[in-house]
Symmetry: C2
Subunit: 610 residues, 2 copies
């Protein structure tokens, strides 16, 4: 039976038929691998996700973590699933052999991870936070910090968090007020030891007993000589603040001064604890006094740059999570539509005839096709980005690596935001296909819709990514990032023209014209002479460019599919591509028209007029 | 302090400044009324909604009705609120003096009802179902049925339901299988008494102890002479099936044979019980034997036509519910945006400066302005429809009444569907304005978003209304309905041209051109020569026409506002109108372009290709 978690056929298509992941095995880092090892990893991921993650997705949603004032209780199925994930080696799947990793390509680790996220986004969040934490430390921490805090994370003994936001500082990180006072000690951390005091908000996985220890990565400010915090992002440093101190032998020691002030109760993603944490308020007294002990990571005042190593990865991770929630919703809706009889064809006038499966109704097919177009388009973009990460890390030349990095930087805000918007829309359509049943918790799709609604908010809101794309990514390095993407789009257009298929030729023309229009509109916006005007409609810009990027991804897929027209799978790809170009892409044209007018409706609006 | 439930200023604007509700007081039915009585009713509604409905909205969401196998437990605040609603006379607010009603215009009753729905959609559902039930019976029931079942509902002693769907028959009512066998008795109901057997699904308010009795209005089929059910809608009849039989003196009698098989657990609207009911399975034995006793309403086999009296009213009610959930979400977001400091203006480079309220950020204003445009546009349409109901009932001539009926018939699918889609989108934007806080149950907006997602499903799905508009409403009576609406739009365009305001003149041109285009596209679709092609993209048609209708509503509002340009309230109206015409209306143009191609992408899609 076809899984309703993910479509393995589609993943294989993306990995083997389109992105040619096998070619990576010729590179030194991946030389022990083959299609067989990749497939074995994907098989294992599917198996564990199916048996242990999907099975408690509704359970942990209905029984969210509970704080009794001392401990956080979580349904035991969560720990069972995470233990199996770690035991199978997924936490270090992409890491060096030196860290007991498997040295799998990033692309394969993302495809494997997709199974866990699609099956249970709340439980898998613990793993992604831990991997992100470990990866950040691997870039910037001392060898000793790596031994004490990274190895146990990659082994699945410790889990990790990222502590950025504070109640008064969400999107505006420069306004954090957590203080880190020097607390130098004898011993290996020496001058790196600090005492932290402050409150951190929205900390996913911030408290639980799923692992032996929790490694918090905390942004805090070291006061200046006058004892005051330095305003702005320049004052921010990065610290390791473990829930329990770790002895020289790696043993768990004293409880650090971190207290859970409360859990947030979310609409979705309920299985992941989300916490307000108080650091250094004296609930515990490590080494005999109040104050959370933290260890400086990297240079002082470089905290934000260090943390951003993690942020870009996390953003693609959010995009992947949004995407696969969309995919699983689509597969559930497809399964329902094939099995639910209701109504008859418009031409059938005999009410005594049996009802037909609802997939026979054109409007139901529209909703399924839209879901397919959104979710498989998004998945293609995420996998394309993951492939770029491999290229950035192991490309044949420094130039190839740098170019992959540029493409990735440009595409990251889109890879985060587009799936967050459109795969949540896909989940809404999955509900609609189910009718009243879809609106009930007796079925699965309403949870996907609730879970997915988080994604346009965290890891930078939709609006923040609009500003990132229009205010930064298109213009930095004299437009080199935009130019690099433009060249790739042009290459796809050329391939489509050469393919000698009338549909693809037409699509190539549409894509080429719209991409050129993005360039013109961007120039017009930058010529506005007032950055307030240039950036006023940045969110709309993000959406317009996003749709064109997904059209590009569809044309890429169609180019592969067009070589096999007799097969249902490829016919489906071509039809979804046609849907995207006919139904969706024109939305971008309309948005670009509006952007070109440098419309000031929202800029002119006044508080008092609301 | 400005209420976050609804904006009374806007309601007064719609009622008094635009729709001139005061002019109705010159009609005989409303002659006892005045602006003072209308305002007193609205004041009372606001007060009760604020004090008793809004106050338990989160409570009943978090503590949904619970069935222990015998009884349904509901938090007591629900009954307290409903009792106050009934005691204040709202159940019969629009009804004749003869029924202890207030004979208020329908428009005023909808404006008053809006307060309860916005404050607590789940609790107010009990009242709307009861009023719809009573109104259906008033049209078709015998005087004795009215005495026994309508009067107690209008007095708030009995509550009502509508029982249409069955597990195998949701959108396809022709497939219901509930049987009604004649069970003639001596006494007043005589030949009208039947015994019903079958299962009814999705019955809101189907079981509770909030009222002395529950009056179920049930669709069922009377078997033919061969004992078989007649296929199709022609076999359907309408029955009153009370939870408890009612004695000749009106006293509550025996329990009827209706059993609660289970409650549905919904994503939102959790405070309203939603039931699977088993009729006639023998759990109870009224008059000594199994079978639910029901009384035929109106003629046999005319059940669907009789029920549809209720459906049109219910559809406008759904549109109103969707709208005011959007409005209250908007008002919550506005309040948050004015009070939440975060970040600084783009030009402010000094991070030591205080953070600004987020309403200062253009992108936040965009999200608020979109919410204002969607929700106030939708509210205008609903109030316009309510005004048409008054015209249909009390218009100066039969021609005026008939014309109002035609406008109403055309607009009903839009009044139901457009707010369901776009005010849910407004609720999503309300979450986004709140950031992470909006995603938590500690704030209010996530509930509005969950509650509102029901509305595109019930009372006819989005797809059903698309078929109704394109397949029926535009073409019946030789296009007379479409012609009537076209004349009204043209009148608005003419007024806007005469207003001598450049913005409005431009908007008039846009509206006129798009309305003409709807006419052309409709003709093209009907010329397709194949109803499968004509109707394939009916949902898109519904959305395209809906946006143009809302633009018309905005131009109407702007015409009033343009007379008072110095006032903040009117400036806001004009700016929201500008937003709708610049940002939203072009979406229709793009959709009409697609419709004109008679695109067959969804029609051509095959099951096997998914």
């Amino acid at each position: 039976m076809q899984s309703t978690i993910l479509n393995r056929r589609d993943i294989d298509f993306l990995l083997y038929e389109w992105l040619d992941v096998e070619s990576l095995t010729s590179r030194e880092r991946y030389q022990d691998h083959s299609r067989e090892t990749f497939s074995a990893v994907l098989d294992t991921a599917e198996q564990i996700a199916t048996d242990l993650f999907a099975t408690h997705n509704k359970l942990s949603d209905a029984n969210e973590p509970h704080f009794d004032g001392e401990r956080v209780a979580i349904v035991p199925e969560v720990k069972t699933a995470l233990d199996a994930f770690c035991a199978a080696g997924f936490m270090a799947a992409g890491h060096d052999y030196e860290y007991e990793g498997m040295q799998l390509p990033y692309l394969v680790t993302k495809a494997a991870g997709a199974w866990f996220t699609a099956a249970n986004v709340a439980t898998s969040a613990y793993t992604f936070l831990t991997m992100g934490n470990a990866n950040t430390l691997l870039k910037t921490a001392t060898p000793r910090q790596v031994e004490r805090f990274v190895r146990p994370q990659l082994a699945g003994r410790f889990f990790g968090t990222m502590c950025l936001s504070e109640p008064q500082a969400g999107s505006s990180l420069s306004d954090i007020t957590t203080r880190a006072e020097p607390d130098p000690v004898e011993g290996p951390e020496g001058e790196r030891q600090y005492r932290l005091r402050g409150n951190k908000m929205w900390i996913s996985a911030g408290e639980h007993e799923l692992s032996e220890n929790i490694v918090h990565l905390v942004l805090a400010k070291i006061p200046g000589p006058d004892g005051k915090l330095i305003p702005g992002v320049k004052g921010i440093s990065l610290f390791i603040v473990p829930k329990y101190l770790v002895g020289e032998d790696g043993a768990i020691g004293e409880r650090n001064d971190i207290a859970l002030a409360g859990l947030n109760h979310k609409m979705g993603n309920r299985g992941t604890t989300n916490c307000l944490l108080n650091f250094g308020e004296g609930k515990f007294t490590p080494s005999g006094k109040a104050g959370a002990i933290g260890y400086l990571v990297g240079e002082p005042h470089k905290g934000l740059a260090n943390m951003f190593h993690m942020m870009n990865e996390a953003r693609i991770g959010v995009g992947l999570g949004a995407t696969v929630l969309g995919v699983t919703g689509y597969l559930h809706a497809l399964d329902y539509a094939r099995n639910r009889p209701q109504g008859r064809h418009p031409a059938e006038k005999d009410p005594a005839k049996p009802q037909v499966p609802i997939i026979e109704h054109t409007d139901v097919r529209r909703m399924l096709l839209a879901q397919k177009a959104y979710t498989e388009g998004a998945l293609a973009l995420i996998m394309y980005c993951a492939r770029l990460v491999d290229e950035q890390r192991t490309g044949a030349s420094p130039e190839a690596q740098a170019r992959a990095g540029m493409l990735l930087d440009f595409l990251t805000p889109i890879a985060k935001s587009w799936p967050s918007q459109w795969c949540t829309e896909a989940n809404s359509l999955a509900i609609q296909v189910h009718g009243g049943y879809g609106y009930t918790r007796e079925y699965n799709v309403e949870q996907f819709y609730r879970d997915n609604r988080l994604n346009p908010i965290h890891e930078g809101t939709h609006g923040i990514h609009g500003l990132d794309l229009l205010g930064r990514k298109v213009s930095i390095q004299q437009g080199a990032l935009f130019k690099a993407v433009s060249e790739e789009v042009a290459a796809t257009v050329a391939k489509a023209r050469a393919a000698d298929a009338s549909d693809l030729t037409a699509h190539a023309g549409q894509l080429e014209a719209l991409w050129a229009r993005i360039g013109q509109v961007t120039a017009t916006l930058y010529a506005a002479g007032d950055m307030n005007k240039t950036l006023a409609n940045a969110s709309l810009y993000l959406e317009a460019v996003g749709h064109v990027v997904i059209a590009w991804m569809w044309l890429e897929q169609a180019l592969v599919a067009a070589r096999h027209q007799d097969d249902d799978f490829y016919r489906g790809k071509l039809q979804a591509c046609r849907y995207f170009f006919n139904w969706e892409l024109p939305k971008s044209a309309q948005q670009l028209d509006l952007l070109e007018t440098i419309d000031t409706t929202t800029l002119d609006m006044r508080d008092a007029w609301f």
